[in-house]
């Protein structure tokens, strides 16, 4: 049975399920845990705890919901020597993530030109189902994108060097090897560079509506009533195909290494095996594609602001990955985890979770060292979003991780049954939010109440201390695929 530890922590002890090597822990409040218990999330947290070499705890953030293999909102760290890497533990949309841009404008300056601005963005940034972006890179050039990520984009005129400091891993995960990315993945991706995509991906123009921590907000370049832009996109077809390919390779690999899993979607191989190393090099390549993708979208956003507002000087507050596996060093606290302690190199799987490093962490650029890493939490369409900052507490108990968003609460079909696109547009209009969407069905599936309340999710994270609130943003214009 689930054991309540305190108001925001619920433990799934090892005894819950045969084969669990470590405990599971879900961050939630009383109300949320009731909801989480309705689907397979708890089982999936327990299943992840059965994988070889997992250390600490198998974690679920308050936005957790049932996924495939791993739950969405899951965090799990594997010992580098004895642990495994799971392609499903990263997910299909490798380095799906968010980027926040701060503008030099206040709300009253943008409001009169908002429709023009949204129309310009909608014209300039390809979005929606289907394929093509504005440019088609050659196969040889695509390899450079996969190796260099955001710095490839900067080198080619999309943004500047300063941008790179404000991206997780400086916009380039090392060790990427394009030769380990299949020609199929490249075929799916080569004309999708610089496209927003569909589903839950979006671009929003938002207003900083509340500041909780003035000093940190100032350090992040944010102030009340300021206009900011939030971009949510990933590695598109290329990343999806990399995951599909390696799930297949890992199915075979498990036979070779004698690994048995309780759910096939958890397919995994030893981190140190050839298959494991190959996957991580291909995953890094796909992640770099996503960084380049968001960098190009940033460039076009700046151009649209320049054209309509006369100033395109938008700065990157930060860019975070939501779906990724990363080699990191963590100090294992024996008192928290009830295991051996000490510094350990681990592979942290974040599936629908955000890195949340505290002040002073060496992975952060100098200007963020004093306050900590911005943690970007997008809400569902038309609701608010948050900026938080990473904490020491997150380092201690969540491998430096926090939640990633609101988390779905309703299936797509149910969302469609309950709302028409017209009704939704009317509702958004009454909230003074402009919307441009490629398809109507995409709109209703992403309706705000199809998700958990992002404010409640953020409250749990804040109160549990695994990230602290800095500012809240409210959308005034939404662009969707």
């Amino acid at each position: 049975m689930i054991q309540k530890i305190d108001d925001y922590r619920f433990l799934i002890p090892k005894s819950y399920k045969t084969g669990m090597r470590i405990d599971g822990l879900i961050y939630a409040d009383e109300e949320m845990i009731k909801h989480i218990e309705k689907d397979q999330t708890k089982e999936q947290v327990a299943n992840v705890a059965t994988l070889p070499g997992m250390i600490g705890r198998s974690l679920a953030m308050p936005d957790a919901h049932q996924g495939y293999g791993f739950c969405i909102g899951g965090v799990a760290a594997a010992d580098i020597e004895e642990g495994v890497v799971s392609a499903g533990g990263v997910g299909f949309d490798i380095n799906c993530g968010v980027r926040l841009l701060s503008s030099p404008f206040m709300e009253n300056e943008v409001r009169p030109k908002l429709e023009q601005l949204l129309n310009q963005l909608f014209r300039d940034i390809p979005c929606g189902t289907g394929r093509s972006g504005l440019l088609e890179v050659t196969k040889a050039e695509l390899d450079n994108v996969l190796i260099d990520g955001a710095s490839w984009a900067v080198r080619n005129g999309y943004g500047n060097e300063e941008d790179l400091k404000h991206i997780e891993e400086y916009g380039k995960i090392p060790g990427a090897d394009p030769s380990l990315v299949s020609s199929r993945a490249k075929e799916r991706g080569h004309d999708q560079l610089g496209t927003l995509g569909s589903g839950n991906h979006f671009l929003e123009i938002q207003v900083v509506s509340e500041v909780y921590d003035e000093e940190t907000a100032k350090n992040f370049g944010m102030r009340k009533n300021q206009i900011v832009v939030l971009i949510h996109s990933g590695s598109r077809g290329l990343g999806h195909q990399v995951c599909t390919d390696y799930l297949d390779i890992m199915q075979e690999g498990m036979k070779k290494y004698g690994i048995k899993v309780v759910d096939r979607q958890l397919a995994c191989v030893p981190i140190k095996s050839k298959e494991g190393k190959d996957y991580l090099a291909a995953m890094a390549a796909a992640a770099n594609f996503a960084f380049a993708n968001r960098q190009m979208i940033t460039h076009w956003t700046r151009e649209a602001f320049q054209r309509i507002m006369g100033n395109g000087d938008l700065k990157i507050v930060y860019d975070v990955c939501h779906n990724i596996a990363k080699f990191e060093e963590h100090d294992i606290d024996p008192e928290i985890f009830g295991t051996d302690g000490g510094k350990k190199k681990v592979l942290v799987h974040r599936k629908g979770a955000t890195r949340a490093f505290p002040k002073g962490h060496k992975a952060l650029p100098e200007e963020l060292q004093k306050f900590g890493q911005p943690v970007l939490i997008p809400g569902s369409m038309g609701t608010c979003s948050y900026v938080l900052v990473g904490t020491e507490q997150a380092m201690k108990e969540t491998f430096g991780s926090s939640c990633h968003g609101a988390g779905r609460a309703m299936s797509r079909a149910q969302a469609k049954r309950e709302t028409s696109a017209e009704k939704l547009l009317q509702q958004m209009k009454s909230q003074n939010i402009l919307v441009r969407a490629q398809t109507k069905s995409g709109l209703t599936e992403e309706k705000p109440d199809a998700y958990k309340n992002v404010s409640e999710v953020v409250e749990v994270v804040h109160n549990a201390g695994i990230a602290k609130k800095v500012a809240k943003m409210t959308p005034i214009a939404v662009m969707k695929g």
Binding site: Y68, R184, G199, T244, Q251, D263, Q265, R412, A413
Partner: protein, 139 residues
Amino acid sequence: MKRGYVILDHPADMGIEAYGKNLKEAFEEAAIALNSIILDLTTVEPIQHRKIEIKASDYEHLLVKWLSEILYLYDGDNFVCCEFDIEDLNPNFLKAEVKGEIFNNQKHQTKLDVKAVTYHQILVCENSERGLVRVFLDI
């Protein structure tokens, strides 16, 4: 026994349950369901054909690879199919001919991007009267 499919709810994404008088029909129906999720199939004409051959370790593996192949044809090869004829099917092998045409965004109405085919709660079963498959998609 009729053939057909139903779309299943999943908190994050979407599933397909497809059936027919045998597994061959169920696999074909699953492919129709997948492409119906991606686009309006009535806008696609069977003008060209493609041959598909897939090897796998068991039926579940084969189902994921079959649907991944159809998805790749659309997303990687720009080819949308509307007719699926499985000529040969056993637990380790599938041979099929699919018909459709080159994707044209003026002619074909897309609905939703499907990221991938998953093993989540995957099911393949058959008796003398009926074949049934279930598979979930990442949207």
